[in-house]
Homo-oligomer: 143 residues x 2
DNA sequence: TAAACTAATTATAACAATTATAATTTAAGA
DNA sequence: TCTTAAATTATAATTGTTATAATTAGTTTA
């Protein structure tokens, strides 16, 4: 349940130092359900850490990715978004406002197997995103 | 069958001028099965068009995307790749050398329906990529 | 607990991909 | 062929991200 505590343990186990900045970035990632960009995180924490550098945010997101705590999402032309890894899920993305909603669906393992069989690749993982318009943006549309 | 001819018709129908540069970019996209980046295209055509600007490549890829002739693929941190739209297919990507192989699989429409039902989104489309190691890179691996 | 070592942070510069701007050139219809 | 709007070019600007070097701060060991 306590995701932050578990995440900090992971860092300890993998020999990654726990700094106030890392603590804050992790906390923000876990609490925000908004799949923030590096800049979102930077801006959100500049009150707490007025001297923090953007490089710190990027560095630590890379570290978190390397130990498997976060995933980097790149879609379309915009900047990358970061997702604290919990259980396996996919994303539904609003093409109008950019909102990302999680979506659980268990049935894509067979696709990996088929892909491996057809292409001869050793398959590690896959990603899927569904694009559309969220209810809020749909209701705002002009008729 | 003649994809270039059809593509040029599409441009005519949508009122987009056919220039030598556009013709060449489309031709290159159709013939190359390699999902090129904008820079790949730029470099490939600089023999034919020594004065062509990168901006022209980007501009026209945007135009082609707008009329539905190409799709833009962004994955990982690298630069965008462009894919001439033919039939519906997915991509299997080698994490070692970056190669992209097409993979046909018909069964993901139900995912769209479920995603729409669960999230309330009006769903337009989806994308999926499978990641792994291609046979060539697998055989090169050290044991 | 203090000293020493190593890693993390900061500030800044560099970089690469992409887009914007303004001047020039060109495709396509009258 | 002439005209006009659109496309291309050359260049500058922008944005997201990474590299560098100096400083600061965790952690380990004496």
């Amino acid at each position: 349940m306590n995701q932050l505590k578990e995440a900090l343990e992971t860092l300890k186990e993998t020999g990654v130092r726990i700094t106030p900045q890392r603590h804050a970035i992790l906390e923000y990632l876990i609490n925000s359900m908004s799949h923030p960009t590096a800049d979102d995180i930077y801006k959100a924490l500049e009150g707490k850490f007025p001297n923090m550098s953007v490089a710190t945010v990027y560095n630590n997101l890379r570290v978190f990715r390397e130990v498997g705590l976060v995933k980097e999402l790149t879609y379309g032309d915009a900047s990358a978004r970061f997702d604290f890894v919990t259980s396996h899920h996919y994303h539904v993305i609003c093409e109008s406002c950019g909102k990302i909603v999680d979506f659980h669906y268990p049935g894509l393992n067979e696709v990996e197997q088929l892909a491996s069989h057809v292409t001869g690749f050793k398959v590690n993982n896959h990603r899927m995103e569904v694009y559309g318009t969220c209810p809020e943006c749909t209701s705002k549309e002009v008729h």
